[in-house]
Every structure is written in structure tokens, then in C-alpha cells.
């Protein structure tokens, strides 16, 4: 039976565990940092040797750690892109702008174990020769920002931060920077613009890869909260041991945010790929199944921008058979191991590892309308396909959910959604706003068409007999008297 494997959340929610420094130290805190700072140079045999920071970077590569923010890009590789010869300072930013609908894992770390994040950050900064780092936390977490500021001053007072960390001579300052309610600040180049005091319009890549031209046009590393926490554990246990956790190419643990119509919504940390989507929803150790009398309708597997899975959907996946040969066999959506690669093969993604469950009481058209309204609100407005497209889709879905729909709206929605992503926009928001529409409308097309057709029939009746005005046509949106 699958169970949780708590690495990041090890102490969180244990009775008596508090976010202050003394408690963190009592539980072995900042030992990873001490180890990192005192790593002796490792001789390579040809007269050269690897310095401590270089060894940490190698270890992170070896660990196979992939970014926990949404894209799942190799952290070691991201670090290796950093331009270290430019002579410019290197910056590190912790992306704590957790705003993908369905995700609430970083909030737990920030509120309940802030020093773990700070220790991970210090090690990551040391490994990359960073002397100034920022935590960009979303504006809606004022309490989180206060906790982090307090933790930073605690760490400073004990010499874990400041001009001479633990007597090693390595200087580092970390500051907390608050966002102000814009989802697009989670996009790394948008975040950088925002941190520079501008509107968070994402930058075009190339040339503005943060690793080369990031904050103040200097090389910059942007990592998610959970990713940075993992750095601490990689240093403590070694990259090879970390790579033993999880499954090949999907190493380590992940904190899964489970929400929607399940009995036990919440955050669960699993070894990547060691539990299936179905187990996460139905196992009593995790979601505990649906409410009584309900059947599964759909699952959004990786935050609201991930493509939806329909209950009963099957995917042809290559698996190793008993004789060691790879065989392609149909796998039910619920039997997909919850990792990075399998979900991508199944046409969706694990994104920010946020699962939203919809049972048969949920209105699929309404759910998509809700998601689309989010993206229409949050598009930064820089690129025309995304700015206009996200709003058109939201308007069409508003019509469909307020008695004004048309049978052709399903095709209309697909047509818009198919023309936003694929290099037509500067950032991945174009994908994020069209993937849910593409997948919902394709997989539940009959429901969308039926909704539109019913509205059309109603309108024809009203034309014949104006007194037969439908209650629903204006009922749901009617202004209060």
C-alpha cells in the first residue's frame, strides 16, 4: 500500500514543532549548511580539484532534482547555464509566488518550516557564488512574509546569514519582496520585471534567459520554494542517495496538493512516481475517495492549467513486461504513476503537483468557465493572442453558463484555444490558458454542445411566444433589484 514519504514535510504538523530557529536547530537544522561550507576540495586526479561550491553543483546534477514549480526542468542543468564569466554579480530569487489554482504546498513550508527554505537558499547561493538573494512572496501571504522576515533576522543574529556566515568568510543577504496579487509574477521573467519595480510583463527568450540576462541584466537563478528545500536534503544525504528516492529521471519526493471533491483534501508528500493518480485520490492514506454516492468525473492533475483527464480515459503507455521487454499496453487514467514523465506522455502534466478532483455533481461547463475567468483576469495583456483569446474564451463560457449559449460555441472555443499557444506568445501563459479549454471541450464535447443547443431551443421558443421568457436566461445573472 502506498504511503507518504516525508522529507520536506518531515517535521511539519508534528506536535510542538514551531517555525522559530531554536526548534529548527533542535531538529538538526543548519547542519546541511555547515557541511556545505566546510566541504574540502575534492582532487580530480589530474592536479585539478573541485571546490566546495562546484561539488554541490555536481551533486545537484547527480541527484536528478527537477524544478517543483511547474515546468519540471532539471535544477542542475538550470544552474549550469548560469553565466559565471560575465564579471557581473549573480542573483538568486526564490519564487514563492504560489498562485497556480489548486496549489498550496509552498504555503505550508513558508508558514510552518521557514528555516528549511532559508537553509536551502543559503546553500544554493553558496553553490552559485551569490551574495544577494530575494524571496519573492505573493502579496496575499502577508503572514508568510512576516514569518520569513522574522526567520531571516533570527538567522542573521546567529551568524547563518550576513557578512561572514558561520565564520567561513562567505557573505550573503536575503531580502523578502512582496508581490501584489498578479499571477503572472510566477513566470520567472515576469517575476524579475516585477522585482525591478515594473509591470510584470514576461521577457522574450532569447535573449533574456535569466541565467544570462536576468535581474538587472545580470545572471539570475529563479527556483521554487520546494526545489530550494530539496537542495538542503541533497547536501545532507548526497546526490546519489537522493536519486534513489522516487523513480528514474523522476527523483526525490514531491508535495502533492490535493483539493476539490475528495474526502480528505490536503498536502501529501510522496516519492515521485511511487503512487498512482488513483491511489492519491482513493487511498485512505491520501484523498480517501469521493463523497458517498458520488462517481468520479474528471481529474485536473497538475494545477488548473494542466489538461484534464476524463474518468475512464485510457492511455497507451510503454511498460516493461515480465520478460523485460517493453510492451505497449492501455493504462487507465487512475493507474498512471504520479510523476513528471508519465503525465507528459499521457498528454497532460504534473505541473505544480496540484490535483483537483471533480465528481459527477460538478458542472463541467461551469468548472471550465471558472478556470477561464481566472486566466482572462490574470493575462498580463502584453501579447494579443493571449490577452484577447483568454477573454473571448471566458466570454463564450460565460454565455454558455448563463443561458445564452450556442451549439457552435464548443467549436468556437476550440478554434480560439488552438490559436493561442505554440510560440505565438512571449511566455507560457498562452499555453496555460488554452490547455484547459482544449482538453475540457474535446473530452466533454457532448456536454458543451448540449448546453448550447438547449439555450438555442429556449430562444426559439421565446421568439414564438415572448411571454415564455426563460427564467434561467437572465435569472442567474440578473441584477439585484
Amino acid at each position: 500500500m502506498p504511503s507518504e514519504h516525508r522529507l520536506i514535510l518531515k517535521y511539519i504538523d508534528q506536535p510542538g514543532y514551531t517555525p522559530d530557529l531554536d526548534c529548527y536547530l533542535k531538529h538538526g537544522g543548519y547542519r546541511g549548511l555547515q557541511k556545505a561550507l566546510t566541504l574540502p576540495p575534492r582532487p580530480l586526479g589530474d592536479g585539478k580539484s573541485l571546490s566546495g561550491p562546484e561539488q554541490i553543483r555536481e551533486d545537484v546534477k547527480l541527484s536528478g532534482l527537477r524544478g517543483r514549480g511547474g515546468a519540471g526542468f532539471s535544477c542542475g542543468l538550470k544552474w549550469s547555464f548560469v553565466d559565471r564569466r560575465s564579471g557581473k554579480p549573480i542573483y538568486l530569487i526564490c519564487n514563492a509566488d504560489e498562485s497556480e489554482p489548486g496549489t498550496f504546498k509552498d504555503r505550508q513550508i513558508i508558514h510552518k518550516d521557514p528555516h528549511q527554505l532559508i537553509e536551502g537558499m543559503i546553500i544554493a547561493c553558496y553553490a552559485n557564488d551569490v551574495h544577494l538573494a530575494y524571496i519573492y512572496i505573493r502579496g496575499e501571504m502577508p503572514e508568510g512574509a512576516r514569518i520569513l522576515e522574522k526567520s531571516i533576522s533570527e538567522a542573521k543574529a546567529r551568524g547563518f546569514l550576513g557578512p561572514n556566515i558561520c565564520g567561513s568568510g562567505y557573505p550573503l543577504e536575503i531580502h523578502v519582496h512582496r508581490g501584489a496579487g498578479a499571477y503572472i509574477c510566477g513566470e520567472e521573467t515576469g517575476l524579475i520585471e516585477s522585482l525591478e519595480g515594473k509591470r510584470p510583463y514576461p521577457r522574450i527568450k532569447p535573449p533574456y534567459f535569466p541565467a544570462v540576462l536576468g535581474l538587472y541584466q545580470c545572471p539570475t537563478i529563479v527556483n521554487n520554494v520546494e526545489t530550494l528545500c530539496n537542495i538542503k536534503h541533497i547536501v545532507e544525504m548526497g546526490g546519489a542517495a537522493f536519486a534513489q528516492l522516487g523513480t528514474p529521471n523522476n527523483t526525490g519526493t514531491r508535495v502533492v496538493s490535493l483539493s476539490g471533491q475528495v474526502r480528505r483534501p490536503g498536502y501529501y508528500e510522496i516519492e515521485v512516481g511511487k503512487a498512482t493518480l488513483g491511489e492519491l485520490i482513493f487511498d485512505p492514506n491520501f484523498g480517501g475517495g469521493l463523497r458517498a454516492g458520488r462517481a468520479l468525473k474528471a481529474v485536473i492533475p497538475g494545477g488548473s492549467s494542466a489538461k484534464v483527464f476524463k474518468a475512464g480515459e485510457k492511455f497507451a503507455l510503454k511498460r516493461k513486461g515480465p520478460d523485460g521487454k517493453e510492451v505497449e499496453e492501455p493504462v487507465d487514467m487512475l493507474d498512471l504513476p504520479y510523476d513528471f514523465d508519465t503525465l507528459i506522455k499521457a498528454g497532460s502534466m504534473s505541473g505544480s503537483s496540484a490535483i483537483i478532483v471533480l465528481d459527477d455533481s460538478a458542472d463541467i461547463v461551469g468548472a471550465l468557465a471558472n478556470i477561464s475567468e481566472f486566466y482572462a483576469h490574470e493575462s498580463c495583456g502584453q501579447c494579443t493572442p493571449c490577452r484577447e483569446g483568454s477573454l473571448w474564451m471566458s466570454k463564450a463560457l460565460h454565455r454558455l453558463t448563463h443561458g445564452e449559449g450556442r451549439a457552435m460555441d464548443a467549436d468556437y472555443l476550440l478554434q480560439i484555444a488552438n490559436h493561442i499557444p505554440g510560440g505565438r506568445t512571449i511566455c507560457a501563459f498562452g499555453e496555460a490558458c488554452s490547455w484547459p479549454v482544449q482538453s475540457f471541450v474535446t473530452k466533454f464535447k457532448d456536454e458543451f454542445v448540449a448546453r448550447g443547443r438547449a439555450d438555442e431551443v429556449k430562444r426559439v421558443k421565446e421568439e414564438v411566444d415572448p411571454s415564455a421568457g426563460s427564467a434561467s436566461r437572465h435569472g442567474a445573472v440578473a441584477k439585484a433589484p
Binding site: 496549489t103 544577494l132 496538493s257 483534501p265 483537483i356
Partner: protein, 178 residues
Amino acid sequence: MTEIQPLEAVPNPLQSQPDFAVPTELESALDQVITHYPQKRSASLMLLHAIQERYGFVSEQAVHWVAGKLDLQPIHLLELVTFYPMFHRRPVGKWHLKVCRTLSCALAGSYGIHRHFCETLGLDAHAHGPQTTKDGKFTVEFVECLAACGTAPVLMCNETLHEQVTEEKARQILGGCA
């Protein structure tokens, strides 16, 4: 020949606050914040947050003051105040209720909570954007995902997050706003 009419004045996007003044203790705290950044402009958001925390909204005078402080033009601040949803350009109620609107909370009944607040306070549940009661005591607003989906539905009352809000709990929250 048609007479040329003078153009209508463009309404000022910011409210005026003639008595705006920054006390020394706040100013020195803000000066401290500016030192966190290699470039002054980066401090814009943090300064606007601090101003809004103190005065409740960001006024025309505040924008000019911050611009002067950071060696910027007022437009550089105005573009932020008009972009980021958290900044208020006019005063909001003493109690600001932000109900999460996004999927997980909507599935758990956040629309009902929002309607309950609006009906109790005499506001329009279908109107867009934040709405303030006539006595200036409450502002009710739908906001996007607050990142607490596991305990949906959630809302923020000023800076406090309330989770698993039922209608009963919503009543208590309103009752606790004195």
C-alpha cells in the same frame, strides 16, 4: 463652421489626499527598505505596500511622494498601481473581505459565501470588482486563488486567512468585525 468644443478633462485615476504626509519614523523605515536593492526602482512595490498599509489606499500625493523618493516619474508608480490588483486607488472599507473565487473554492461553495456577505451588507452579488458599503465599514470582493485550496472555501478578512468557511462561520466573521 462647427465650433470646437474643449476636450473633457480626463478623470484622474487616483484619488486626491491633500493632507498626505509621511511621518519621519515611516520615512526612515522606507529608507531602510530602499537599501535592500541595488537599484532604487525595485523598492516600488514594497513602498506602495507600506503606504497602503498606513493610509488604506494609494493616493495621487502618495504616488508623487514615492516617485520623488525613488527618483522616478509618477507614471512609473501609476503603471504599477493600475496593474496589480492589490493596490487600492480609493479608500476601502475598514474590513476588507476577499473571498476566493477560483475552482477548488467555487466547488466548495465560495459563491454562496460571497452572496451571503453581499446580501447581508446590501451589496450586489453580481457586480464586478470590490464593493464598499455606504458607511465605509465593509468592502467585499471576489479574488483569484489564495493558495489554500485544501481547506476550501477560504477568504481573507484584512490580513487574516479564514479556512473551511461555512455560512455559519461567515456570520461569525462578520460579527467579529467591530
